[in-house]
């Protein structure tokens, strides 16, 4: 069963070493194609040229959720199936997911400035993305304070699961919270109407971001396996010296 073979770190490392250059090349290629198309895309009749920021903002939002999904599956791997690589996958995905969430927030804010007049508006979607970023920070803080790589695995897995359950609730409550204060000086931001000519660059950029995520994730998992191997060998060094 493929899952079992993959469970073996050394075999996984060999597979990653072979696949990584291909993924990196594919990512670069599609990203370049996406950028070219994004630049040539016509202005949107509503937002003018700022729609070009959408080509970064929307894919980044999708990838921030993909990141959390990967961590949730990995959490099940750690807690339920006891898969040895599950925690490695989760710990590798967290910083990358947080990175994409940050891209989404900053591009969203830069998109908001010309559109709404201020860098930050407590718009429902941006706010939910911000809460997702805070959840990422929580998991990163958990991993960061656990001294050695192995510890904190179960705790982070539980946090990822709870986060996954909590995100839809956050989405709903933020929408409610946002509509509640509809009266105040909140600009009701109509979502971008996806016009056909804009849809294509968006799809290509989304694929490029996805491939970028996979490439970075595989490389980060490889680093994590090496980091744990270093730790094991350091412990061995201590034991051997005592003998």
């Amino acid at each position: 069963m493929a899952m079992i073979e993959l469970a073996n770190p050394t075999r996984f490392l060999r597979i990653v070493d072979r696949l990584l250059p291909w993924f990196a090349a594919a990512t670069a290629l599609i990203l370049a194609a996406g950028l070219v198309q994004a630049v040539q895309a016509p202005d949107d009749y509503q937002q003018g040229a700022t729609v070009k920021i959408m080509f970064l903002h929307v894919p980044a939002a999708w990838l921030s959720m993909v990141g959390w999904a990967v961590m949730t599956v990995a959490a099940l791997g750690t807690l339920v199936w006891r898969h040895p690589l599950a925690d490695v996958a989760a710990k590798a995905a967290a910083p990358i997911g947080a990175g994409f969430t940050l891209i989404c927030l900053i591009t969203g804010s830069l998109w908001g400035r010309p559109t709404w007049g201020t860098y930050w508006v407590w718009d429902a979607r941006l706010t939910s993305e911000l809460v997702l970023f805070l959840l990422y920070l929580g998991v990163l803080a958990l991993y960061w304070t656990a001294e050695d790589p192995g510890r904190g695995a179960r705790a982070a897995a539980v946090l990822s699961l709870v986060g996954a359950i909590d995100l839809p609730i956050v989405k709903f409550s933020v929408d409610w919270w946002n509509s509640l204060h509809q009266g105040e000086s909140i600009f009701r931001a109509g979502g971008p109407v996806i016009d056909a000519s804009i849809l294509w660059p968006l799809a290509v950029m989304a694929m490029a971001f996805f491939l970028l995520f996979v490439t970075l994730h595989l490389a980060a998992m490889r680093n994590e396996i090496l980091r744990r191997r270093v730790r094991t060998m350091q412990m061995l060094q201590a034991q051997e010296a005592k003998a």
């Binding site: 407590w122 805070l134 304070t145």
Partner: protein
């Protein structure tokens, strides 16, 4: 004096390595301040008015709650005993640890503050005075918190007790800090007086903190 620098560098090295508490203060500050609009509501004008106060309360809590491990960690692994047999007077030993703590937990707050200023729609003109006040205020918060950190070693109770002990002592810093960084009140009372008094308080706590904490440590140890 290189004992002083050795201790300062050691504490920073521990804080910055994996497992150290370096950025935890800044993350706490970010999360506390971001949750305020969920309670207060997303009205930008209101947030803009209370922005500086929210930032200061966040910085106050972040500075204090990060302090409870300052002496407790050394007490638990036995380092505190050996530090007290050093040639460096205990007050300077505490000063070195406090400066290292401020550099690793206090300074990151100053980097996060402008970002949060955007979120709370604080007037960019107010960001300058706010950052000046925070960069003078956060060391004062750390140094006043030293007393609480020293007491929480012998009292075996961690962060929350520290905040309860120390919060009343930090009220002057809060009052002058917020008024120095709030455009409206700065317009009335003027940025100058509030800021200079804040500096005075900060310098006083720079001296008072280590001495009080040293006394607390000497008498508190069982």
């Amino acid at each position: 004096m290189n004992a002083f620098w050795a201790l300062l560098i050691r504490d920073m090295r521990i804080a910055l390595r994996a497992g150290g508490g370096a950025l935890i203060g800044a993350v706490f500050f970010l999360i506390v301040v971001v949750t305020v609009p969920f309670a207060v509501g997303p009205d930008l004008k209101l947030l803009g008015r209370i922005g500086p106060a929210v930032l200061w309360l966040g910085a106050l809590l972040a500075s204090l709650l990060a302090l409870d491990r300052l002496f407790a960690a050394d007490h638990e692994d036995g380092s505190l005993d050996i530090l007290m047999t050093g040639e460096l007077p205990l007050e300077l030993t505490i000063l070195a640890k406090a400066v290292a703590h401020w550099l690793t937990t206090g300074v990151p707050l100053l980097f996060v503050a402008p970002l949060l200023g955007l979120m709370l729609d604080i007037d960019p003109a107010a960001m300058g005075p706010l950052l000046a006040a925070l960069s003078v205020g956060t060391p004062a918060l750390t140094f006043i918190g030293l007393v609480g950190a020293a007491l929480s070693v012998s009292l075996r109770r961690g962060g929350l007790l520290l905040a309860v002990i120390v919060l009343p002592l930090t009220i002057p810093i809060l009052v002058f800090g917020v008024s120095a960084s709030d455009l409206a009140s700065a317009a009335r009372a003027g940025f100058g007086p509030a800021f200079t008094i804040l500096c005075a308080l900060s310098l006083a706590s720079l001296v008072l903190g280590p001495f009080a904490a040293a006394a607390a440590l000497r008498h508190g140890l069982d």
